[in-house]
Symmetry: C2
Subunit: 259 residues, 2 copies
Amino acid sequence: MNWKLTLTYDGTDFHGWQVQPGLTTVQGTLAATLRTLVGEKVLPQASGRTDAGVHALGQVVSFALETNIPRENLHRALNQALPPSIRVITTEPVGDDFHARHAARQKTYEYRIFERRRDGEEQVCSPFLAPYVWNCRWPLVYLEAMSEAAKDIVGRHDFTSFGASDPDMATREDGDGVNPVKTIESSAFARERDLLVYRVTGSGFLHHMVRNLVGTFVDIGRGAMAADCVPKILAAKDRTAAGPTAPPSGLFLHSVRYL
Amino acid sequence: MNWKLTLTYDGTDFHGWQVQPGLTTVQGTLAATLRTLVGEKVLPQASGRTDAGVHALGQVVSFALETNIPRENLHRALNQALPPSIRVITTEPVGDDFHARHAARQKTYEYRIFERRRDGEEQVCSPFLAPYVWNCRWPLVYLEAMSEAAKDIVGRHDFTSFGASDPDMATREDGDGVNPVKTIESSAFARERDLLVYRVTGSGFLHHMVRNLVGTFVDIGRGAMAADCVPKILAAKDRTAAGPTAPPSGLFLHSVRYL
């Protein structure tokens, strides 16, 4: 039986999604748990990798098991056996041809920013919030420009400038192949209580792409980059044209859409 | 100059407040940070110890420094040098006779319970919530009885039955001396979104007292102990009469009141 799971995880203590020898990863933990539960050695496939420290609200994974196990039992057994930092939200049997990565049509990411200095006041970032935000030291005084710049990526573009700079990383796919042309459906900032939240939905994302976008938008917000720089950065097709990579702690894979 | 700080900390990764050789504690981390910042070896005193895994929203500590340092500078330097899991909310110079433990008149604790089975439905405890709650496996069907039992401790009582069972621990003070007679001003449960929150305010608390109270209330809520057991437990003056110790993850030192 082929299975589709929706997972949420706190990435703080994981070395990312993908199995790495000697390191605790989400994929490795899930594989080890499945092996213990059903005695099968399977490597679950995710909609895309998440890096060390990146969180998931709705990561989708798939794997096939030979053992016949009722849906409810698999769901309950996984949540009993997995550490509290990984939870299975839904467990569904799916057709044999379903593959969490190949079948993914659209993803939404969320990036949470805490402004340490806001409206001229020093803010204390709660220790309970710190692992889930970018505790940003700069006052983001050009918030309107950030919001406008976020809209500049909507549409179909070559995102080479916002891909990972390391050549090894640049060719690494984030689950969407190495084609740097992606279609962004929405890209916007919103103030939500103490946080500035960026949400982006698109056909796919290059490795580090969301964090490089946020790093660039924050540079615009603090006045270190021009308000209209995004179209130029896209045109340059050069990683060095964009801003720095925002830290992983603020990033959440929000959801994955399938047909 | 004598200083009074209000701290908030995420206790997950600390072996409690009190300095212990070879272990990371809040007191040890604060002392090491002060030593680095001002070159003085001081041991900050808290309103009371918190155990490993217990959190603080408003812990109060005091210490004296010989170095003359402006309030704003000390405050900012501490928040820059401390790990993100400890934040200084307020920094105030106080009279030489102020001592965070001796001067404490009243404390409020909060205990957060997540009900894994609620109204017959299996609930998934978010990985982002798990370190800050008791992920309770029992359905708390006698919630009304729990709420009534919580009221039974209001007033002046001998709390020996709710103190730590280990004789070593029982004589350990939680910052309030070993007198087992305490005055509880309020003690109540409230439903707050996904959580069941217990709040208790009193003149002082024995070691493990809040967790032993919550363990007993939960036993009442799941039907394992009688609704009217609390007065009998208090009268017994015997730790074995009460319920089990609730896990540390759900406990928060909320605030400390001084005259």
